[in-house]
């Protein structure tokens, strides 16, 4: 126990583990978005995908537990770091001018906290089905859980579109600083490739967010229907 404590008392160790966990979550966010895009292939594709996942309960629950642990590690470590950082400057400057820090980098705690709320909401809403009583929880004609129907029902409603839009905004901002920051924390930098790494950060953030938003707005604008 004390070795673990000593390890995490190092700010650099904490940063390294937090960034590994964060990059792991980023990987999940990318594959989750790609999986979601199957909505565009129609109800058969996405319901089939969901049922394949559900047919492998051990794998599914291992992945879920793993994600929970990784997310817990990330959140726990960054909150601890942020609290310590706040103590670093007890008296604030009267005048403060930023030169290099991006908006995204300055709002990591805010966008991270919004993300946490959004993730909990999203799980209760579409995974557990506890938020919207009017949502269909039936099966499709092949007897599989009708994920497609749930998605269509949810994003017809401007309230859910709004909540998910804010969630995606937070995700995009968080990732646009997080990815390049995480690489730097792991010591991954290169004279010529650094600009590519920077671009990859905002590029991946944009990719994930636009992918998710395309589904939400395609349903809302009636481009995909039941």
């Amino acid at each position: 126990m004390s070795r673990v404590k000593v390890f995490f008392n190092s700010s650099v160790n904490s940063k390294i583990v937090a960034s590994l966990a964060g990059l792991g979550l980023t990987g999940f966010a990318i594959f989750h978005m790609l999986g979601n895009l199957q909505v565009f292939e129609g109800s058969d594709a996405i319901n089939g995908y969901a049922s394949i996942l559900r047919d492998m309960p051990i794998l599914l629950w291992t992945a879920r537990m793993g994600l929970l642990i990784v997310a817990g590690l990330h959140i726990g470590l960054v909150i601890r770091l942020a609290l310590r950082n706040r103590q670093g400057r007890p008296v604030a400057y009267a005048v403060r001018r930023y030169r290099a820090a991006s908006v995204a980098s300055r709002t990591m705690v805010l966008t991270g906290s919004l993300l946490l709320f959004f993730i909990i909401f999203h799980l209760l809403h579409l995974t557990a089905g506890l938020i919207d009583a009017s949502a269909p929880d039936g099966l499709d004609i092949q007897g599989r859980v009708d994920v497609y129907g749930k998605i269509i029902h949810a994003f017809r409603n401007p309230l859910y579109v709004g909540i998910y839009f804010v969630g995606q905004l937070a995700l995009g901002l968080h990732l646009s600083h997080a990815i390049s920051s995480g690489l730097q924390t792991l010591g991954i930098e290169h004279a010529a490739l650094n600009r590519l790494f920077k671009l990859a950060g905002s590029g991946i953030a944009l990719f994930v967010v636009l992918g998710n938003l395309s589904i939400i707005f395609a349903v809302f604008l009636g481009l995909i229907r039941a």
Binding site: V12, N85, R89, Y93, S105, G187, E189
Partner: protein, 277 residues
């Protein structure tokens, strides 16, 4: 950008008037606050510190306590001068120290706010003077190489590649001013530590203690109450020596390497000659 002092009198341009808001604090545990002063007759050729000298002359004449601020070389090499000017450590020019900042950079009639470095690890001594010994203690923890004294080694005994020499030189140009800490929202000293670690880790003389050095210096940094790095790069943007944040990535790599190798490995059996590194 307005150039200071449009008015010409006696053949040279001068700033007629400046309003200064300066942090005054009698001692470490006293309450401080911003006090407003007027200065006039400031030449655009004066350095920022000379402008403060003029203010202090004025205060002494009026029987008031002069403003305490740190300075020594006044040519950008010692790292003593340390003022946050209008929210930016070392002021509006890039790649210079406060003592290399000139009054021609400021418009006539401007209000300038001057504050000390602010960090828990840099307690205020008086007015604009802070105690930066935390950086010295980090150096004492590992920012050195151990050598046996004796006759000077012949030149070029240790061959060093040009690339390595250049990298080490870039890192070694850090003057330990602490502006990186002052600029960081977390008051992190990572750029300073990175410069010192990179400087020594790049050179053959620094290799023997490489593993324990990075461990010890990061541990000392955390102990002093500096924050952690958020990779915002404000430090690089104010550093008077333009130390690159690439050195922070290098520090992270050194730390990872040390963590994996472990500091204990070479010391598992006693060193044959009883040398202590």
């Amino acid at each position: 950008m307005l150039v200071a002092g449009r008015k010409r009198r006696g053949g040279y341009r001068r700033i007629v008037k400046l309003t200064l808001r300066i942090w005054r604090q009698r001692g470490p545990n006293e309450r401080g606050g911003l006090v407003t002063y007027q200065v006039d007759d400031i030449s655009p050729d004066m350095s920022f510190l000379e402008m403060l000298d003029a203010l202090n002359q004025q205060l002494i004449m009026a029987g008031e306590e002069p403003v305490a601020f740190e300075h020594d070389c006044r040519e950008g090499i010692c790292g003593s001068c340390s003022l946050v000017i209008d929210g930016v450590p070392h002021g509006p020019d890039r790649g210079v120290t406060t003592c290399q900042l000139y009054m021609r950079r400021f418009a006539d009639g401007k209000t300038i706010t001057i504050e000390p470095w602010r960090a828990r690890a840099f307690p205020i001594v008086k007015d604009l003077v802070v105690d930066r010994r935390a950086l010295d203690r980090i150096m004492q923890a590992g920012g050195y190489i151990s050598v046996n004294t004796g006759g000077a080694v012949d030149g070029n005994t240790l061959l060093i590649g040009k690339e390595e020499a250049e990298t080490a030189m870039d890192a070694a140009s850090c003057i330990g001013c602490g502006a990186c800490v002052a600029a960081c929202k977390n008051a992190s000293a990572m750029l300073f530590v990175a410069a010192k670690v990179a400087h020594l880790a790049t050179l053959p003389q620094g290799k023997p203690e490489r593993t324990r050095r990075v461990m010890a210096m990061v541990q000392a940094m955390d102990r002093e109450g500096f924050g952690s790095c958020g990779n915002q790069y404000e430090c690089e943007a104010v550093c008077p020596k333009n130390i690159s944040v690439r050195f922070i990535a290098l520090l992270n790599r050194e730390y990872l390497r040390a963590g994996i190798l472990g500091t204990k490995m070479p010391a598992q059996s006693d060193p044959p000659h009883g040398e202590s590194y």
